[in-house]
Subunit: 218 residues, 2 copies
């Protein structure tokens, strides 16, 4: 983001545990990722859903496979969570509060059926918690038609900016302008039933109970 990140987590063995926790925090709070890949010499940035476990990010390979025969050599996957807008006294000091993770590596195809099911479950539960057990799970044909990529979380960086504006000590602070942070909240609205549903089909509990708003999922 523009502006100076107040906190930047840098590489270093001594910070490995904190880094991993920060990375998993971003992956938990994020919803979609942006996959950067070079196809025939052209950079493409494609939004897609994801799932993860502590070591691996899983992506739907179908997203990019329209353009790619197999997994690409190297990708960068970025997950960004928007937490707020920083309103400073001066335009120059305006900024954005956010958490962002960049993961670099060479994705591999997930080919084993058991691993594919596990990866698809992680993706489904990240996007729509509770749906894996509620919806009909993939059959053999569907699983065969699903391409999944696995990307190690081993090479990743996290950047975070939080807090208020940085110009409280500047001459601008004497001018009486309001300054602070405007939090950004995201949440689920009222579920919209498929018009084809039989009248009276109940909204399942796990859907009805999803939070109306929560901070920083964008």
């Amino acid at each position: 983001m523009s502006g100076t990140p107040r906190t930047r987590l840098r590489r270093g063995r001594e910070k490995a545990r904190g880094r991993r926790e920060a990375l998993l925090d971003v992956l938990a709070a994020g919803f979609v990722c942006h996959l950067g890949v070079v196809v025939e010499g052209v950079v493409m940035v494609v939004p897609t859903v994801y799932g993860y476990d502590p070591d691996t990010l899983y992506l739907h390979g179908s997203v990019a496979s329209r353009s790619l025969a197999g997994p690409p050599d190297e990708v960068c996957v970025t997950v960004t969570v928007l937490d707020g807008v920083v309103l400073a006294r001066s335009v120059f000091e305006h900024s954005v509060n956010y958490r962002s993770a960049m993961i670099y590596g060479r994705p591999g195809d997930v080919t084993d059926d058991t691993e594919k099911l596990a990866a698809l479950r992680l993706i489904t539960e990240h996007v729509a918690p509770g749906q894996w057990d509620y919806a009909r799970q993939p059959n053999r044909r569907e699983l065969a038609a699903t391409r999944l990529w696995a990307l190690s979380l081993g090479e990743a960086s996290v950047k975070v900016r939080s807090g208020g504006p940085d110009d409280a000590d500047s001459a601008d602070a004497r001018d009486g302008r309001w300054a602070g942070e405007l939090p950004v909240l995201t949440g689920f609205g009222t579920p919209v039933p498929d018009p084809a549903l039989p009248v009276g089909t109940p909204v399942p509990r796990h859907v009805a109970d999803l939070p109306g708003t929560w901070p920083g999922r964008g």
Copy 2:
């Protein structure tokens, strides 16, 4: 996104006007973009704020200039607006409703001071409407320290998925499961004043009046 986009706007002269309107709709609804760039052979995807007019996207060059001496040859900038989660009867048919724009091109440095001010105003007003006139505007030194890129909107594509799940006609529809769309809403929370502010500094009207939630800005 995974799944089949229900609507895809393809290139073609006859659709140019509709495409441009769809592109501007995504840019208006989005908040941050993801800039894809190749730096020394490595793909990077960097989140950043943006502004735009009907012909041009403006970016803070500072974002990537830590890694780049000048504007890169070619970039892809993607703006994604999340509108909802599509809950189908089967896991396989789950999807995401979204609007996404991908803009390709070679960004140029904005060097003229008048153009820089105009571009910075577009970026500021996109992220924090009303702040350009409220906050102190950039002075000569700040403007010189601000690097801005301009990217033509001439080469862009838009993808949209909307509506409910696609398995209303499938055998799965007989199993009685609920299916539909879960809208995603984003909005601003209560403004958090900078702790350094004098007590009683009023929240300006343009900040207090920002919408609490609005559809599909994520």
